[in-house]
Subunit: 491 residues, 2 copies
């Protein structure tokens, strides 16, 4: 298998697809729209899970697990929710197969038809709020701060590995609160957790904002989001946190008795990020040689390759390098010592480069003589010869440097692709020719938003939380506007 | 809600169901056969997952993720596999809902019918071996040592929380090997991992064995298992590891080129444990007061309750106890300091007892004067006053003691319920009146095995791996037998 990728300039979409395959991250399964997450891809997801889960627990959340199936009738209870998800539901109608006695073929047993169809969860608000009804009686039972790690299914017709698949993995937090303000604070807190995770772990800068009405989650009063910018100038919605008001409490009749003895409906939030983050991670950092991973999420942080012509040389290198491997492991650095004799060093270099290993060390007989080692940075592709003395310190420090350099580089890219547009001409020119985020005035109506989308394919990604009020005129209609919003073409 | 449970003697089954509810482990959902795993139950599962996952990785395995849907035709490819699972398959037939324009009801959109039905995975051999076909060409691609943590669905008609549910969580390892011997060694190794986990983490002694032909996994040549004994004298199959031979490789045409350049079919194993283990954990240790947890799997290992009449006393106790909390946390001991003023100490004691917290510490003004603290062991219900000096050491040591005492107690129970039977009368008497494992001769035929099951409800749990050869006569037919096998009624 050739290790060469189509370049990003030649065909960004092919580059992405080839990289996902060649870096052993994922592949399409034969099941429509469903992916196989391969070991290297899954190892990244595990690192994401572990660090997010720690952050959820630090903010007082616990995990639980709810059924994968949702009775069809539950969906109907929240009107906008069913409207949002009905078109992409996988429906279970039967519970048994049988062998056809005539043809010998395995067929659905028509006598085993469900009375009520079950939906494979596209999201779990309905089944969870139906459960919370039994958990909540008094203010003493609140808040409920529960998260679930799960698979969900949305029958997408056009899929792309990680970015949009029929089945994906995610976490979904579902919290219940006594007051509106507490629920809003929770939704905002979780948005901050996501933003911190994106920046500190993924080295992916994000803009925090709130969605317009037409881009809101089906059933939410407000959808907060983090938006990132990919290398092709398109935006990626990387996580959302919803203030659900009392919509689901009303749909499922979930009330609590407050301290004054009065019954009230419970306030809700939900929030989630998914394996889509891996798509964002790839498109924020990777290059034409393959994956580039920030050290904090790299399953392998350091690869060490001995270069030798004789078994005697190999043994000398093993003697020299194995203590280094042990030392790095002691420092909780994930390291591979690759002395596999079946593969040549060049093959190994290309392999670790493709897989995004942040630091590669190589040592040959000459290095052994000089007490040096070759160190290659994946993010900058720089190679240097460094002293073997204190190389563990060098590596440990460099991993931190790479992590922060990658964030700085991604932030510089994002900032240099953040444009203001004050006229329709400016706006359409940037969207069509430059890409990136465009900050522009909008008259606040869904009609205008839809027209802009029809004309340019750009959508309002968010109203940034840190927006300043500023009087202006809508770029399309010229109607008055009080603030700029953020447009982009998006995944 | 009353904290009192039905006693085990009165009604073992009610005791179990009530405990699962009152200890906040799980509950039935409104979706037939599917459970909600509540936070305390899920926290135990997380601890199990973490330690098992570490053991899998230490033995060279990596995680991946495969689709939840399996095309119906895949099942047909391995004849005994489809026969084993066809009767309990949830079948997806449609991919869209719509609102009926006349009634306004949400209904299945009949125009969105799948060409081929999809099965919600009951186990993943077929979809995984269909994927492995693309991963394996040469001996260099072997072995593949992959595990997946996932939800699976088997449409059980009679369900019990944790023990038998339509949807459950599990891990399934699926490995591919160049040789038969390597695959058998892998299946045996993973059985050892399960046995080690059961004994060292769950404090649940198990017997390692191999299943008879009629109890084998659908598609396996050999099914290894670990069998535990519950307090009601019934056995529980706690984990299985299958040597699958070349069955799935042949069904999905997965061949590799060996070092000599010849094509051969690949050898396979699969192995799994599930949330059923939580049922086993409950029924191995718990008592009429509630859950008893081994310290290594307890989400909360130590609960500290201050006893006070005035706020001044509470403050004194907080000053005294908070450094202890910090010290225990420093030692990686999971501790709750419960100074919630809304609940009385008696309520808290009952709560932590029900939830199986291994050690409860309580301190009142008198203890403060004497510089002592009351220490209660959950497993033995013993209370002692210990010196506050070095109490962290006392607690840390006691957690280890409790862990080993619980295993010793469970082993003593199991051993005292291990009977030999040499005649049909002896056999039926023990099965009907005493319960436990019965070691007896069997003539080796499936017919006899089935007759014994029909007459007594006892099944052959396994042929123990450490069995000694011994000539004898089958307890039912009197035909010659060369070894004893292990019978029991089972969950």
């Amino acid at each position: 298998m050739s290790k060469k990728l189509t370049t990003r300039e030649d065909n960004y979409s092919n580059w992405y697809n080839e990289l996902v395959g060649k870096a052993d991250l994922a592949e399409h399964s034969e099941v429509r729209g469903c992916m196989v997450i391969k070991p290297h891809g899954f190892a990244i997801w595990e690192k994401m899970q572990r660090s997010l889960d720690d952050m959820f627990k630090e903010t007082g959340h616990v995990n639980a697990y709810f059924p994968i199936f949702i009775p069809k009738s539950y969906f109907s209870k929240e009107a906008s929710h069913v409207e949002g998800f009905a078109k992409e539901c996988a429906v279970v109608t039967h519970y048994r197969l049988k062998t056809d006695p005539e043809t010998g073929e395995v067929v659905v047993d028509e006598t085993a038809k469900l009375e009520e169809e079950l939906i494979v969860r596209p999201t779990s608000e309905t089944i969870i709020w139906n459960t919370y009804k039994g958990w909540i009686q008094s203010y003493r039972d609140l808040p409920i701060l529960v998260n679930q790690w799960a698979n969900v299914v949305r029958w997408e017709m056009r899929t792309r590995l990680f970015l949009r698949t029929a089945e994906f993995l995610w976490q979904e937090g579902h919290t219940a609160h006594a007051t509106k303000q507490e629920a809003i604070s929770e939704a905002e807190q979780m948005l901050d957790v996501y933003a911190t995770f994106a920046e500190e772990w993924m080295a992916m800068p994000v803009i925090k904002g709130v969605k317009t009405e037409s881009e809101r989650f089906a059933g939410a009063l407000d959808t907060y989001c983090i938006e990132a910018l990919m290398q092709d100038g398109k935006a990626l919605q990387a996580g959302t946190s919803h203030f659900l008001g009392q919509n689901f409490a009303k749909a499922f009749d979930v009330k609590y008795v407050n301290k004054e003895g009065k019954e009230e409906y419970v306030w809700a939030t939900s929030w989630g990020v998914s394996t889509r983050l891996i798509g964002g991670l790839i498109m924020t950092h990777s290059d034409d040689n393959g994956l580039v991973l920030p050290p904090k999420l790299a399953p392998i942080q350091v690869a060490i390759v001995p270069i030798y012509r004789s078994m005697e040389q190999l043994e000398q290198l093993q003697d020299k390098l194995k203590p280094l491997v042990a030392e790095l492991k002691k420092r909780k650095i994930s390291v591979v010592f690759d002395d596999d004799d079946n593969r040549k060093p060049g093959w190994k270099f290309a392999e670790y480069e493709m897989k995004g290993v942040p630091i590669r060390l190589a040592m040959g007989p000459r290095d052994l003589e000089n007490n040096t080692i070759e160190l290659a940075r994946r993010d900058t592709l720089e190679k240097t010869n460094v002293s073997f003395e204190n190389v563990a310190d060098t590596v440990e420090g460099l991993l931190e440097t790479i992590q922060s350099d990658m964030l700085a580089k991604a932030r510089a890219y994002r900032d240099s692709n953040m444009h203001n547009a004050d006229t329709w001409e400016e706006f359409t020119d940037i969207i069509a020719n430059k890409g990136g985020f465009v900050s522009a005035h909008w008259d606040g109506t869904s009609e205008t938003e839809e027209q802009i989308k029809q004309k340019t394919k750009a959508t309002i990604r968010c109203i940034p939380l840190e927006n300043k009020k500023e009087s202006g005129k809508c770029i399309l209609t010229g109607n008055p506007s009080e603030q700029r919003v953020l447009f982009a073409k998006a995944y």
